[in-house]
Symmetry: C2
Subunit: 195 residues, 2 copies
């Protein structure tokens, strides 16, 4: 799909992939441009704000992608459930690890790990990205019958457990942690609707 | 307490703190030595293997610290419960964020974020560190009455949810995610013992 994108889009995508592998500090602009098969000058042309602008856009792109996993599940499922939604999000990661190995984690966690402390503006950008993912998730849980407060806290639990399991899966090189989280939390989430 | 440590110990501790703030790629040896109030030459003296050796030791130090939060809870509690153990681990983080702000996250997650992909040896070190934390946690859950398999998968859930909530708390600058995870998962964990 990256083939049809223009140079600007390819650069944002390549930056997001680099952050997933190496964090923000480890991301070199030269590598990003090469990875995007973009002309050297295009970086200055499209991103006059430099690395900060590029990372900001890569994080926003990642948030859109994460949110699309929620809407994708809702659009493709007759009777959506909270446990089914968690399983669908985890399945995306299991597929990714199966197809491409464990080198790339979540870009939001990677960015938070090295810039949330020292760079307040990027920290706010990462927070907005997590919000943009959590908002459709909360709305989905409310639509499934959960009261607003419970939808909010279970959204936190779903995202937290998923993100932690991604880290464990990568370090262990095994999708087991994702399976554990889905198996243990699915019934809890579904019971919250029925209860 | 860092006052009584020798230069070598102070350097390992300072490296762990830097990884917590900036990841491995963002950690500069010069800053670590300064932070540790150690003589410039001490780095080469104590860590002839350079940055990789220092980071490896900082990760191992972090694993010991994480494991000590488990034994600390068990030693100080008359009737330990899985939910109580999760709450105790979360409380450590809430105290840390309350006392020192949100600049420092978990060193294992930070290291995984930027080196688990590109550096296989450090990836294995991080994995061993997570194992050294999970092993006493699994043993504790078994001692509380959980079958081995369930102790294993609920350990994964506890660590995953805690780690994810730490990331969300840092980006949001609010300990709410830690509270949500404890409130939602505590009853699930305790029911696993009673059930």
């Amino acid at each position: 799909m990256a083939e049809r994108w223009n140079a600007r889009e390819r650069i944002v995508y390549a930056a997001a992939q680099s952050v997933r592998e190496r964090g923000v500090s480890g991301t070199a602009l030269r590598d990003v441009v090469e990875r995007a098969r973009a002309p050297r000058g295009s970086l200055q042309h499209y991103f006059p704000g430099g690395k900060d602008q590029l990372i900001t856009e890569a994080i926003a792109w990642s948030a859109d992608y994460a949110a699309s996993t929620v809407t994708g599940y809702l659009d493709s499922t007759e009777r959506p459930t909270p446990g089914g939604l968690l399983a669908a999000m985890a399945r995306g990661w299991q597929r990714e690890f199966g197809a491409r190995g464990f080198d790339r984690g979540c870009p939001l966690v990677a960015a938070a790990a090295d810039v949330a402390g020292p760079e307040p503006e990027l920290r706010a950008t990462i927070n907005a990205a997590f919000e943009a993912w959590q908002e459709p998730l909360r709305a989905a849980l409310r639509d499934m019958g959960l009261p607003a407060r419970r939808a909010r806290s279970l959204t936190t639990v779903m995202i937290s457990a998923l993100e932690g399991a991604i880290v464990l899966a990568r370090t262990r090189q095994d999708v087991g942690p994702l399976r554990d989280v889905v198996r243990e939390l699915g019934p809890l989430l579904d019971a919250a609707v029925d209860g």
